[in-house]
Symmetry: C2
Subunit: 227 residues, 2 copies
DNA sequence: ACCACAATGTACGAACTGGTTAGTTTGGTC
DNA sequence: GACCAAACTAACCAGTTCGTACATTGTGGT
């Protein structure tokens, strides 16, 4: 009784007075920091600005994350983690290899489009030559899932006789990533350069279908797509 | 005699004492600034650092470019200009549409690879949502050349009966750009994530051939590639 | 009831950084 | 050779920015 009673009291206090909530504070800081870093880059983001938008204070940032780079690294890891969770939603069981790959590409395209902050974090991290990612121990096993999906599909496609042999699943993943990533990462300059809105819904739909088609034509045996 | 004499004296002095060389100073600043911005981003680059690496001084930066953003914009324009010049080297006259497109893709892939600083500037500009590019009046007419090449090739391919109808040259350009750009822009994180060196010469060659094949399979009529 | 320690608030400072002020040198022209 | 605009130098300044020292409060265990 005393135990459950104190827990109830604790929970109630947590909600009402909102004091002493380490995990919440930590989470809140990461959320704010992620947005700021994604928007302004590592050097562009301001600790004071992040602190101000937080429910807590600058002191807490240094308490939990040590310094600016520590905070950036946590934000980066958080971005990858969030996207990984999202990727679990892809369902290609029960589909043919061709249909499965189609859905995978469509999913990736849309998923990237919906997670612009993640894309921006990856861009920023690439500007820094991936040096923080390298320091991270968390992120390593992450994209293995994506590759596993493609490898599975590709092998099924070979068995079903619709895919051509000799391709590398990792390289297919590379191509899909390139097309889907670029659509978000370079939209600004591309739109400006060609005076066309590459973010308009109908344009996005076209680009998505182009991407699907491009990947399928690359992987499929001649004639397997019913042309 | 007096005129040519003074010119000789002028040139000699220019070389020996290196004083009063506005265009040279300007150019030198841009070169240094481009490197620094490409390496560290707009907010990451330091005016003092740039000035120190220059043959002249910080004061000169403000004298010629007004402020940091002015310098960045000039560096950005310079990057686009340099790459445009390079693109003029592409020669596809006299080739069939298929061979021409193949060469175009190979050229673009290699060209992007050789101009990493340009790629990084474009990445950085995209982080800034292309706001500086928009302000620029110089860059506008630039990529028209690339599109013109592709449009020409595509139409020839239609006439030759090897390309399928209904495609948009701009969208083909988009796809080629995506694949070639990504290879440089995301190499760091991709290599780290999959513990493979995507910058190794043999890997690059594979990726280049994959890219060529992907584009050709997308554009060509079924059977036109002699499978 | 009390204590050790985790969590948090406040105020401050040293170094950095973009930008400027004030003045000097250079080279062409009449 | 006097003059002047353009090119250039050196020292400086004010606002910013990361990070910290110090003080205080809440909490769980005994």
């Amino acid at each position: 009784m005393s135990e459950s009673g104190s827990e109830v009291r604790k929970a109630a206090r947590k909600v009402s007075t909102r004091q002493q909530d380490p995990e919440g504070t930590r989470q809140n800081i990461i959320e704010v920091a992620s947005q700021e870093f994604a928007l302004n880059g590592l050097s562009g983001a301001r600790i004071d600005e992040i602190a101000a938008k937080t429910r807590s204070s600058k002191r807490m940032i240094y308490y939990y994350f040590g310094d600016k780079e520590g905070l950036y690294l946590s934000a980066l890891e958080s971005a990858y983690a969030t996207v990984r969770e999202g990727e679990a939603e892809l369902d290609i069981a029960g589909l043919s290899a061709v249909d499965g790959l189609r859905r995978l590409v469509e999913f990736t395209f849309t998923h990237h489009h919906q997670h612009e902050d993640f894309i921006r974090m990856v861009m920023i991290e690439n500007i820094h030559h991936g040096q923080y990612l390298e320091r991270s121990s968390v992120v390593r096993d992450l994209n293995v899932t994506a590759i596993a999906h493609i490898k599975d599909l590709y092998e099924r496609g070979l068995v079903e006789g619709q895919f051509r042999p000799g391709l590398d699943p990792l390289e297919i993943h590379w191509q899909i990533s390139a097309l889907c990533f670029f659509n978000v990462s370079n939209r600004a300059t591309f739109s400006r350069l060609f005076a066309r809105d590459f973010g308009a819904p109908d344009m996005l739909e076209r680009l998505k279908q182009n991407t699907v088609e491009m990947v399928l034509r690359y992987v499929a045996k001649p004639g397997a797509l019913g042309e």
